[in-house]
Amino acid sequence: MSRFCVVLIALLAGAGGCSRKEGRRVVRFLDQPDSGGAWKEIIARFEAAHPGVHVELVEGPPATNVREDMYATSFLSGDGTYDLAYMDVIWVSKFAAQGWLRPLDDRLPPAARADFFPGDIEGATWQGRLYRVPMRSDAGMLYYRTDLVKKPPETFEELAAAARELQKPPGLWGFVFQGRQYEGLVCAFLEVLRGFGGDVLDEKGEVALDRPEAVRALEWFAGTVKTISPEGVTTYQEEEARHAFQEGRAVFMRNWPYAWSRLQQEGSAVRGKVGIVPMVHAPGCASSATLGGWGFGISSSARYPEEAWAFIEFATRPEQQRLFHFRNGAVPARRSLFEDPEILKESPHYPELRRILQAARPRPVHPRYPQISDAFQSHLSAALVGREAPAEALRRAAEKIRAVLRK
């Protein structure tokens, strides 16, 4: 059903593109509904400074994967609906490998990239060329209850020990995270895997999932279910985990920065009792958050690439990212904004968040990332629900991912 919707919407949007008026230069992109009105304001500011150029935001569905399909369908058919691609970090290599994006190296020279987080730039790069300018950053982290936890844990053992000591199931569990079989599961596990010193691919690009550190990571991760995490964690996405934590039913939670403001809302059971730290790590290893985040690329079929670039350059400036933060709750992708006094006043956790984002790393950058992720998800899920032993699950996932890379 949703397939047909995607095609239908793409067709309708395409039809709209054909009927544009002469002499009007339109630059179009797709994002989720503009909840706080930041895009409207940014576009108004831009249009006031650039007469004759019109920027059109197509407000698509909130589900990220559906918008990815909308872009992909439009680019596949070459209908030129979208001049800009407003992309999640994991789309970049897939879109770039298809030749759907223009490289931006000359437009954003290395000196101009310094203010962005290194992970955001790494995730925007495919085969040595830059295809995306970061607009908002995102990374996973560990939320904890400041009224229960005296000293936040730093290692996996400390986290498990504190969770076990403080929890009183079923009313209060130790640790909640994203355990349903979907992209979020990969993000959550990647932090554990890297915290144990492992990774999906090593420096040479070889699959490293069946190595001992990866097995230790999955043994720890799968071992949380029914000991410090409720059994239902295997059905949780971000919102289920947030609800559990917000209602005071969990001591620790792995989630994205968006949860912070919701946890501090009026009526939240944990308001004023929330702290964040980087995800824990094994002794001798470093924490590494999984990077999310969004940014702009220019489509190969863009009719007005110069105007498109002008908008990117304008929208990703500190003033606009600042507005985007206040209106739409986005985490800025520019490091300088983490010292902005007004932002700090409203978000006292930002110095800690900056530390987390600075060390955040993207998921494996590969055009066939969706296949890699699916193979990974399926076996991670099998390990969490006890269908496969951790070593077995990783061996099978590694085999499948090797097959995907060989293609």
Partner: protein, 259 residues
């Protein structure tokens, strides 16, 4: 003519794209797995729907007060959009808030909440339950129409001969109902084998791929992996297989009636 064109053009395009990729279908272990899941889902849900649908149709066939009203209400689940109703089922089976845990816990049937959608077997059963809930009304409707076309004098004649209601059911109702059952079976099998939205919303194919169906698998290849060729090969093979199964089952149900 027009219908032929509408069918032939996309089919031709898919076939030309998928040609040469059909060989890969045979050596795809994942396809075997998702086909098995899809087949099991269709078999479980459709057989339950036919049984329950027959039961409801027999009840609704009797004359009682408010019959029209009850018939309208019975159709409601079928009229709801699948995605909306799948969202509700996801909440019903939620481990903390779900009614599927709350009731048995209060009745003392369960000691602790079950993550219904978090275990392969219960997730599968939950999908079947949701599908049965939604589409039994459709089967009921078709079987009810079938029941109403059975002449009353047949029943009266057998009653005069001293046959009880059970014998009359097996000797008159069931044989006369076979064409209607065949129609319901064919329609339901085609829909159940192609199930997408319900699974997409409720489990996303998890846990551990245990609820991934053929349609989800096709979607992965065609839209997420951008492998249109293999997606097209999968689509053609799946469409042919679904059609064959549904037509075969329908013919079987009808054929026995003639014998």
């Amino acid at each position: 003519m027009l219908l032929g064109l509408v069918l032939a053009v996309p089919l031709g395009i898919s076939l030309s794209q998928g040609a040469g990729r059909f060989g890969e279908l045979v050596s795809d272990p994942m396809l075997l797995k998702v086909a098995g899941t899809t087949g099991a889902f269709a078999a479980a849900s459709v057989s339950l729907e036919i049984l329950l649908g027959l039961l409801f149709a027999l009840v609704l066939h009797r004359t009682f007060r408010l019959r029209g009203w009850v018939r309208a209400v019975a159709l409601l689940p079928w009229a709801l959009p699948t995605a909306v109703m799948a969202m509700s089922w996801r909440w019903i089976f939620n481990d903390t808030y779900g009614v599927a845990n709350d009731l048995p816990l209060r009745l003392g049937l369960l000691r602790e909440p079950i993550a219904w959608l978090g275990r392969p077997a219960t997730a599968f059963a939950a999908l079947v339950a949701a599908d049965v809930w939604k589409t039994t009304p459709f089967v009921t409707l078709i079987l009810l129409a079938g029941l109403q076309s059975i002449p009353r004098d047949l029943h009266e004649a057998m009653e005069v001969d001293g046959a009880g209601p059970v014998r009359r059911f097996f000797w008159i109702t069931l044989p006369m109902l076979r064409p209607a059952i065949a129609v319901a079976l064919t329609f339901r099998l085609i829909q159940a084998l192609g199930i997408f939205d319900l699974v997409w919303v409720m489990t996303g194919g998890g846990p551990a791929d245990s609820t991934k169906t053929v349609s989800l698998y096709v979607y992965d290849h065609a839209f997420r992996y951008l492998d249109g060729g293999y997606g097209a090969a999968l689509t053609c093979a799946a469409a042919a297989a679904f059609f064959a199964v549904a037509a075969g089952a329908g013919a079987l149900a009808r054929g026995r009636a003639r014998a």
